[in-house]
Structures are given as C-alpha cells and as structure tokens.
C-alpha cells in the first residue's frame, strides 16, 4: 500500500487530490440541494393540500349547480354537465383518506368522503326521479341533497381552516429548517474549504520539497563540489526519477574522475620507465665501450705517447696527446655524475683543442666566463655534446671562418651558459622538433662520442626539474645558432663545492 503510494506519479497525485476535494465539495452540494428540494417539496405539499380542498369545493359546487340546473330545465346540456361534474367529483373524493387514524384532519377527510358518497347517491336518485317525473320523490331527494351539500361544504370549509392552521405551524418549522440548512451548509463549505486548502498545501509541499532539495544539490555540483551528499529519493514519481538519475550521474562522474586520475598516473609512470630504459641503454653502451677498451691501458698508452713526444721535443704532439688523454679520462670517469661547471668548460677546452688539431685550427673558440659562477653543479657531459653539435651541424660546411663563443654570466637569479656559433643556423621548425624530443639518438650520425643533444636536454630537465632550462635560438639560415642554458642560481649548490 505504502509502496504503491510511493510509486504514484506527480500527475496522478495532483489529479487524485484535486478529484478527492472536488468530489467532497460536490457531494456536500448535492446533499444541500437534495435537502433544499425536500424542504421545498414539503412546502409545496403544505399548500397543495389546501389547493386540493379548494378544487374539491369547486367540484362539489359544480355537482350541486348542474343538478339544480337540470331540475330547473331538464335540458340535456345540464344533464351532461351534471354527469361530467359528478365524475370529476367522485374522482376527487377517491383521493381522500379512508382509514380511521388518530388524526382529526384525516377523520374529517373520511367524513367528507363518506358524506360525499351518500350525497352523490342522493343526487343520482334525484336526477333519476326527475327523469321518471316522480315529482314528490325528486323534491324530497333534492332537499336531502341540499342538506348534505351544506354539511359537506361546511366540512370542507372547516377542514380548510384547520389545515391552514396546521400548515402555518408546519411552515414555521420548515422555514426554521431552511435557516438551519443555511447555517449548516455555510459551516460545511467553510470547513471543507479550509481542509481542502490545508490538504493541497500539504500535497504541493510534498511535491516541491524534493525538487527544492534536488535543486540545492544540483547547485552545489554546478559550483564544483562533487562531494556533496546524494539526494535521497522519497517517492518514485517524476521528481523521484530525476533525483535518482541525478544521484547516478553524480556517482558516475566521481568514478570517471577517479579513473582519469589513475590513467594519468599510469602514463606518467610509463614515461619515466621509458626514460630509465634509455639511460640504462646508454649505460650499457658505455659499459660496452669500457669493456672493449681498458681505460688504464689507453691512458698509459697515451701517456707513453706524450712522454715520447716530449723526449723528442715535439711539444705540440705532446700537448695534443695530453689533451686527448684528458678528454677520454673525463669521459670514462665522469659520464654519469654531476660535476662542476669548471670541469665541463675544461672538457670543452680539451675537445676544441683536439678538433683544432684535427681540422687545422679552423675553429675559433672564444670564452667569456664569469669565474665566480663556475663552481655551479651541472650534469656531466653537458657542454661537450652541445659544442660538438655546433661544430658538426653549425660550422663544419661553411665558407667563412667558424667561431664558437662560450659565455657564462649571471642574469637576475639565473646562471646563463651560452654556446653560440656563426654557422648555418637552424630553422624554427627544427628547433621545435629538437626541443620536443622528436629527433632520436639514432638519427644522429655515428661521428660523435655518442651523447646526443636530446639526451642532454632530457637530463637537464630531470636534473633541474624544469622545462625552461634549455633553449635554442637561431635568427635564420647562415646567421648562427645559440644554445642557451639558464640554470637557477642556487646559493647552496654554489657553496657546496
């Protein structure tokens, strides 16, 4: 029963309440009308009895007059008239009371009826005697009839009076009843109206309350608070359905957000792993190289070469071999750790020297170093690959004098390391590709020490946890390229060394 009520739709609820209240009012009104009808009918009945008596009196007069007329004239018209009125009158008296009751008015009716029956008998006899020319008989009969006529007349008149007296008191009662009816109906209508208003207020409240709660919850969700409480469903009407749909939606949104969070986490982890894999691969490559060349043997060999050169007073050879030895030692020793900027610059010096020997001093290298900043810690193998890049792609195939400038300076809170060449330059497109990691290590030629630019960029990012550390600037074709590394100037890191 309760569940059934809960499942009723709003429309049905409204219609039901409306119908119920309307029916009650209609029933009350019908009853009022019926009561009024009853009273009016009784009022009618009161006067109807008097009206009937008057009719009776008239009919009686007709009988007497037509009989007298016939006795006077003996005309067939009068005869016809007599029979007609006699018929009418006997019909009328047939309606009168015949029983012996305790009511004196009804007893008077009975007397009138009985006397009238006798009267009609006598009048018939009179008319018969007249037709039979029995003069004596019709005269005495006529007298008798007249006597009876007078008695009946008196009875009717008296009964009329008595009835009127009775009716007056009945009328008083009835009009009193009508007054009562007025009060009662007014009372009922007012009472029912008040109750109806209360009922409708209650029902509409029960309909709009869940809506209001739902609206509040929706407002909170719209404001971004997904953790708002679920709207509880009171009934399975339209509002109930909307409420439960809203709840489902809320739950689904929460779940969805949770899932997105999870998948993002996964993606991040995968990226990290990819990077790790690459480093591990590099590691493996290095270890492979290391395994192939016994570094001590290499260094000792190079050192022996250097000593030999010195003994032969070939100073330039000595210096060259010395530089090569230093370059490789650095490579072997510090491939994977953080080092001071100073060491890195030294390595670049070594590298340039070796290249200049290789390429007969084609490369001009200029340094503008703020020495106070060189103790900053940076990832190892940072500058050399950049310089190598500049040499290989920037100034290798140019017609003019190649120049590479390395400058370290301070800008605001940043330590800036700039490697600028005057080579072929680089297109913005390619810069984007490089910066966004689109060029893989494999694309780079084998003519390198194996550490690519992308590796440098990635390690920088990892090291400083910041994307904006590395930038490549080129003003266009044949206008050179500048690689700019801006490191945060960290007092502590600076002091460490």
């Amino acid at each position: 029963m309760k569940n059934k009520f809960r499942n009723i739709t709003l429309q049905t609820k409204l219609i039901l309440s409306f119908i119920a209240t309307t029916i009650i009012i209609i029933v009350v009104n019908l009853f009022m009308y019926q009561s009024i009808n009853l009273l009016v009918n009784r009022l009618d009945a009161i006067y109807l009895s008097n009206v009937r008596l008057n009719e009776l009196e008239i009919a009686l007069g007709d009988v007497q007059n037509s009989m007298t007329d016939y006795l006077n004239t003996k005309s067939s018209d009068a005869m016809e008239q007599y029979y007609r009125s006699e018929q009418d009158y006997s019909e009328l008296i047939g309606a009168l009371n015949q029983d012996i009751t305790g009511n004196r008015l009804q007893m008077m009716q009975r007397s009138i009826r009985n006397m009238s029956e006798n009267y009609l008998e006598v009048t018939n006899q009179t008319v018969e005697a007249k037709r039979g020319r029995n003069i004596d008989k019709y005269k005495t009969r006529y007298e008798k009839a007249t006597e009876l006529y007078n008695y009946i007349g008196t009875y009717i008149y008296s009964l009329n009076n008595e009835q009127f007296k009775d009716n007056s008191s009945s009328y008083k009662n009835l009009s009193l009843s009508l007054h009562y009816l007025e009060y009662v109906s007014a009372f009922i209508l007012i009472g029912v109206a008040i109750c109806n208003i209360a009922l409708i207020t209650l029902l509409t409240k029960s309909i709009t309350n869940p809506l209001r709660i739902l609206a509040r919850a929706a407002d909170q969700v719209a404001g971004g608070n997904l953790d708002t409480e679920l709207v509880e469903v009171q009934s399975m009407d339209e509002v109930g359905i909307v409420s439960s749909a809203f709840n489902k939606m809320l739950v689904n949104i929460r779940e969805y957000i949770e899932r997105i969070k999870e998948s993002m986490e996964k993606e991040r982890e995968m990226k990290e792993r990819e990077l790790m894999m690459e480093t591990h691969l590099k590691d493996a490559q290095l270890k492979y190289l290391q395994a192939q060349i016994n570094p001590h043997f290499l260094f000792n060999t190079l050192n022996a070469g250097a000593q030999l050169a010195m003994m032969e007073s070939a100073d330039r050879t000595y210096e060259y071999v010395q530089n090569v030895a230093q370059f490789f030692r650095y490579n072997v020793r510090k491939n994977n750790e953080s080092v001071s900027l100073r060491d890195e610059i030294e390595l670049v010096d070594n590298y340039i020297y070796i290249l200049n020997v290789r390429f007969s001093g084609e490369i001009h290298f200029e340094k503008k170093i703020d020495e106070s900043l060189t103790s900053i810690q940076v990832p190892s193998m940072l500058l050399q690959p950049i310089v190598e890049n500049s040499v290989n792609y920037g100034i290798r195939n140019i017609d003019w004098q190649g120049l590479i400038q390395l400058s370290v300076y301070r800008q605001d809170d940043m330590v800036c390391i700039s490697i600028r060449d005057n080579g072929v330059g680089i297109t913005g497109e390619k810069i984007d590709k490089i910066l966004h990691n689109a060029i893989r290590t494999s694309d780079v030629g084998t003519d390198s020490n194996g550490v690519g630019l992308d590796n440098v960029i990635r390690r920088l990012k990892l090291f400083f946890g910041n994307d904006d550390v590395f930038d490549i600037i080129s003003e266009g074709e044949n206008k050179g390229t500048e690689v700019l590394i801006c490191l945060p100037y960290d007092e502590e890191r600076y002091d460490d060394v």
Partner: protein, 374 residues
C-alpha cells in the same frame, strides 16, 4: 571507512524522510477525516433537526384504528362532557378505537339533530348521544340503527327508540338522593327551631324549587322529581312542612337558562329556601346568582356534578351539596357498550353509572383529587 559512515548517515536520513513522509500521509488522512466528520456531523445534525419537526407531523397520523365512534352532546364546553369524553377516549385507546366529539372543528354550530344526521351520513361505526325523549331524536336514532350504526344514549335516554343501550344514572335513585339532602337540610333547620320554639305550626313551610329543563320532553326529570317527592314524604319528619315545586327553565336559544334563573331571583317575592339543580350549567348559574343577589346562607343549593367551580362553592358553603356522577366511567361504559355490540351483536340495555354525594364534609378529598389529576 568514510564511505561506510556516509552510507550509514544516508540510511539514517532516509529513515527520517520516510518518517516525514508518513507524517504527511497521516496528516492528510487526518484532514480528510476532519472533513468527513464535519460534513456528516453537520448533515446528521440537520437531519435530526428535520426529523424532529417531521416526527411531530407524522406521529399524529401514524396509528390506524379499528372503529370510529362519535360523541354528540348538548354542551361540548362543559367540564362534565369533557370528562365523559376523556373517559371514553381512555377506554377507546385500550380497545384500538377512535372517539371524537362531533362538530368540534366545524365552523358552524350544528344542533344535536343535525349532528346526528352528519354522523349517519359520515358512516361512523358508532354514535354516543345525549338523547332526549323527543320524536325527532327517536327518528334519528332509528335512522342510524337502520343504517347499521349502533347508538348508545348517555345521561339522557330515548326509551322509545331502537337504541342499543343507555348509559346513565337511575333517575329515581338520583331523585331519592336529592330528597335525602332536602330532608337533612330540613332537619338542621327545624331541629334548631324546635329547641327554641315548640310552636311548630307557626313556622313557614320550607320552599324547595326543582329546576327542570323546559325543552326536554323526557320522563327522566319527572322520575327524578317523583323520587324527591317520595323521599321527602316518606322519610322526613317534617314532610308536611316541605313545599316541593318544579320550575321549568327555558333552554331553547343561547343563554336562555341563565336568564330564566336570574328571573327567579328578580321576580319571586319569596325566594325559595332550597334550589335543586339537575345539571351542571344550572348549578353554576344558581351559585353565581345567589352570590350576586346576596342570598348566601338564605338559599341552600343542591347541585349536580363536581366541576372545580362547584367544589369550591361547597368548600365556601355556598352550595350545600352536590351529586357527582362518575363521568369517566360513563364515557368508558359508552365505548364498552358500542364495542360489545360490535363484537357480539348484543348488549345490555342499561349501564348504571356510579354517583357520589359531595358536601362540606368530604369536599376536601375531591378538591385535592382534582388538583392531583391536573
């Protein structure tokens, strides 16, 4: 854990909501009940109000009776006949019969003869009539009996008619009772005089006036008169000293009796010492006249019937004594006679009604009794 607690909270809240929902349902049902109570209550109230007024009208016409008797008498307003009618009604109710005084509701005052005719024409089941010995009355009674309507005469009889029964007082006994009263008055007067004066021959004879209805051609008054005569002659020590005289009182026409009685006091040189009245009206008239003409103590009244006025007069010693008729018994006997005739076709010719003497000694009982009845 947090989720669990929030769920719990949810169920708690929904519980609260369901309770709220129940409350709404209960209040709605309550309101509907109030509406129904208001409506039905008011309508019931109105119905009972209506019924109450309707009941009054219906109750009168509810009962159906087996027989319908009418009562015809010379004076509807006298307490004598009203009492007779009351007795008849009580008896009739017990036997499921309806009795009515004829002509009560009519706008015309009909004579007894006319009333008889109306009763015959109305085909009543029985007639109780205060008859007289007139020829007209005899004819009417015979006519009724021929028409199959039994007739019982009450108080006054028409012996020559074919009436079924007579309910009344034995006139001879009544006369003797009056005679006794006359004797006792004579005893008290002459007894007192004897002691002071032995010369009885000097004393004036006692004048006794018997008021007789002049228009009644009826022998019962004569019988009463002869009863008085006999009692006075045979039983009194002073019979020679009592002068009995009958006075006819004209009752034809309205107020005639009262005028005739006044005439007695105005014209007679020597007012009578004792006046004997044979009906209630005369008794009351004589009593009033005696008071008016300042004859209290001079004239002894021997009355008839025990109306309130007469009893009070006895209490004040204006009326010496009165003969009371058991009127209720008379009414009851009339109805009994008619019923018996209706049932068996036979009925006793004569029903004697009890009479009682009321004088100064026992009047208190009747005054009290009357008061009780009212």
């Amino acid at each position: 854990m947090q989720r669990h607690s929030s769920q719990k909270k949810n169920t708690e809240e929904s519980g609260k909501q369901i309770r709220g929902k129940n409350k709404i349902a209960f209040v709605s049902i309550g309101i509907i009940l109030v509406m129904i109570i208001i409506t039905t209550g008011s309508l019931l109230f109105f119905k009972t109000q209506l019924m109450h007024t309707a009941q009054k009208e219906i109750s009168q016409a509810k009962r159906n009776y087996d027989n319908y008797y009418v009562m015809i008498n010379s004076d509807n307003n006298s307490s004598f006949w009203q009492s007779v009618f009351q007795g008849a009604t009580e008896q009739a109710e017990a036997t499921n019969t309806y009795v009515e005084v004829l002509g009560e509701n009519l706008s015309v005052d009909y004579s007894e003869a006319e009333q008889m005719e109306i009763a015959i024409e109305s085909k009543v089941d029985g007639i109780i009539v205060e008859a007289n010995e007139s020829l007209q009355m005899r004819k009417l009674i015979d006519e009724a009996v021929t028409a199959g309507i039994p007739v019982v005469t009450a108080l006054g009889d028409n012996t020559s008619s074919t009436r079924q029964s007579y309910v009344g007082i034995s006139s001879y006994n009544l006369g003797r009772e009056y005679g006794k009263q006359v004797n006792s008055i004579a005893d008290s007067i002459y007894g007192a005089q004897e002691q002071t004066d032995n010369m009885m021959t000097n004393i004036n004879p006692l004048q006794v006036l018997v008021l007789i209805n002049a228009n009644a051609e009826d022998s019962s008054q004569n019988i009463v008169f002869s009863g008085i005569q006999e009692a006075v002659e045979n039983q009194s020590d002073y019979s020679g000293k009592i002068n009995l005289e009958a006075k006819a009182i004209n009752t034809e026409g309205a107020f005639a009796a009262e005028e005739s009685i006044r005439n007695i006091f105005m014209t007679e040189e020597q007012p009578p010492d004792i006046i004997i009245c044979l009906n209630e009206l005369n008794t009351t008239c004589v009593y009033q006249a005696v008071v008016d003409y300042n004859q209290v103590g001079q004239i002894n009244i021997i009355g008839y019937y025990n109306s309130e006025t007469i009893l009070k007069a006895i209490d004040r010693s204006v009326i010496y004594s009165t003969i009371s008729v058991d009127t209720k018994q008379m009414g009851a006997y009339c109805v009994d006679a008619l019923n018996e005739y209706g049932e068996s076709g036979y009925v006793s010719e004569y029903y004697a009604v009890d009479t009682t003497l009321i004088n100064g000694d026992n009047v208190r009982n009747y005054l009290g009794g009357d008061a009780d009845e009212e």
